[in-house]
Symmetry: C2
Subunit: 397 residues, 2 copies
Amino acid sequence: MPLGEAPRRVTAEPVHAPRELPGFARSTVDGYAVRAADTYGVSEGLPGYLTVTGAVLMGTEPTAEVKPGTAVTMPTGGALPRGADAVVMIEYTAEAMPGTIEVVRPVAPGEGVVRADEDARAGQQIIPNGRTLRPQDLGMLAAAGVTRVRVRARPVVTIFSTGDEVVPPETEMLRPGQVRDATSVALAALVAEAGGVPVHAGIVPDDPATLETKLREALVASDVIVISAGSSVGTRDETASVVARLGPPGIWCHGLAIKPGKPTLLAECARGSGGHIGSGGHSVSGEPGIPVIGLPGNPRSALVVFRLLGMDLIRLVGGCTAPPPEPSVRARLDRDLASATGRLDVVQVTVSGGAATPVFGLSALLSVLTVADGYIVIPEEATGFDAGTEVDVTLYR
Amino acid sequence: MPLGEAPRRVTAEPVHAPRELPGFARSTVDGYAVRAADTYGVSEGLPGYLTVTGAVLMGTEPTAEVKPGTAVTMPTGGALPRGADAVVMIEYTAEAMPGTIEVVRPVAPGEGVVRADEDARAGQQIIPNGRTLRPQDLGMLAAAGVTRVRVRARPVVTIFSTGDEVVPPETEMLRPGQVRDATSVALAALVAEAGGVPVHAGIVPDDPATLETKLREALVASDVIVISAGSSVGTRDETASVVARLGPPGIWCHGLAIKPGKPTLLAECARGSGGHIGSGGHSVSGEPGIPVIGLPGNPRSALVVFRLLGMDLIRLVGGCTAPPPEPSVRARLDRDLASATGRLDVVQVTVSGGAATPVFGLSALLSVLTVADGYIVIPEEATGFDAGTEVDVTLYR
């Protein structure tokens, strides 16, 4: 992939510098290339005098050579001429007479110079495998002349919404009992943020046979499957039964000690045969299965769980071993927060002036998420936080 | 713009809910719709008995009505039938005989129910103007049936590299004195991250007339111009002279008390006539000029300054008034760091086990940036930080 398309892609192999970098000794200052020995002992009171025998031009190979008692004019970034081992800054020189400078400060060998291999030695690893490419990584690759980079394929994440009550967002007037599919578009954005390619598989009615057919189709061409699994116990159980039939390996767990997000289903299903690019077309013994995440039907619960578990799963499938850091801020909780032990609570908060204010509301309410600046996590072992507790707020970007 | 294309775009107007949300009273639990008054005083020892007269189906308008002494079976998310004002959870009921349930816990009116306008009232603002759209914001818009959203145009940011020594990254073998253009591709990635559209204007040799012609062309079609302005004093001064000729308003400042990044140039130039989409084609008196940022020639210095100043500038031009939070971590500095007062120092660090270790190296070295996990800022007034100081590390994503 060309570098210009590679920001935030994950490398599929380490990258090594084909040659040393910058490749030649370069001046880091404007001044004069000298032999350091010629400046030893000079001072304001007792300057040294050097004959200027030439000038280095940017981007060209120096033709002048620095012999004892001489100096060559240097621009920042210019190539050090033969014979020189340091560059004295122009600030510490003065023109004594045309063609001669006085030097008022000594330089040590190597001063004012970047060594030919100081940015990278030839063959040195400059970018590790599994790196999510940051802007500076692309710069380093360009500097080394590596203009194409092998990256991992972005995982294809197929998103299903289920539920007889769910209708497309385009539906202008709802009948009582209907809700628009809010989860799919939000999940797609989270999938993309985690480096995946979201594929909308649409809305599936509460019919196990239809869901099974659709899921089997999706298992052929997906790397991860995400299902908003309906809100009521009946539809959740039906989804779990269908997913169980798709195994092996099958269901990892159904129900998590998280609030909101308890009805979450985590499973792994055998890749369907029929030719996904990444798999070579056939399910191979020992090949990892396709992770299937069944999310709660409430959009808010679904988004909370997907942010906690789904995004890192997609990153992992995409070869990213170190998830990028998330923005966070320390703040003081401005009221008591209760929590049951043995359950991880995710509480949305607004943050202002160092204070974190919980946004309360039923888990069915999306507005809690849009009003919030971020969230805090109350761990399983805690029974809550008292007002005044310093908490880490993970901020929504 | 359709919601699916809108993640991280900036809204150009506030969005209001066309109708109340969810639009009907919904059950938040599986159970029975009841009249709360029918459950007052019930307990495990003295259950209440209700006749089940029907069931609500997901996604359909309830046909049953709850009259005194009756109940209707409810799925989570179902629409509350007429006559009911609460839903009792299935866990607090039992089937006493076919068609009759016993209820062992009282419910208050509104319990187990989301009100018809609890997520949003009709006409309520659900997304503010200038919001960088987050996944949950898109979900809220979809829930409200708002499937297209007015967003600001992404600022067009034209990127120039200057310098006779600079050659395209594709150049396989460098002649001594030449360097590959590492800055452009990295800047482009930072521009995109800030919501801009990067346009590569290529490498301009150190020739003021050529640079002026190219910049005048760019002023017609850009919203921001970024120049890697060469490393040596001569080329930097030439760039400044050319930019000064492009005014008014002209140069804001040339030279910043930042290390690295001192030679930075900030200017504002009149938009060229000739028809940029955003401006209506002609420079209008009072219309803001085009920000021009002249960056240091060293790729590392350029990227440090652009991250500090350029990205927020692009966000501002793009209408984003609140920059998204950046990831950071508190860490303990593991050695002394000196800094001159009156100068802001940016020092790259690695972070491991709560300790921040400075990555030292000349400002010409890109490898310092690729090795680092983030950076700390030593403010103008400080003379440095002692080892052991707790510092905020801004983390590279």
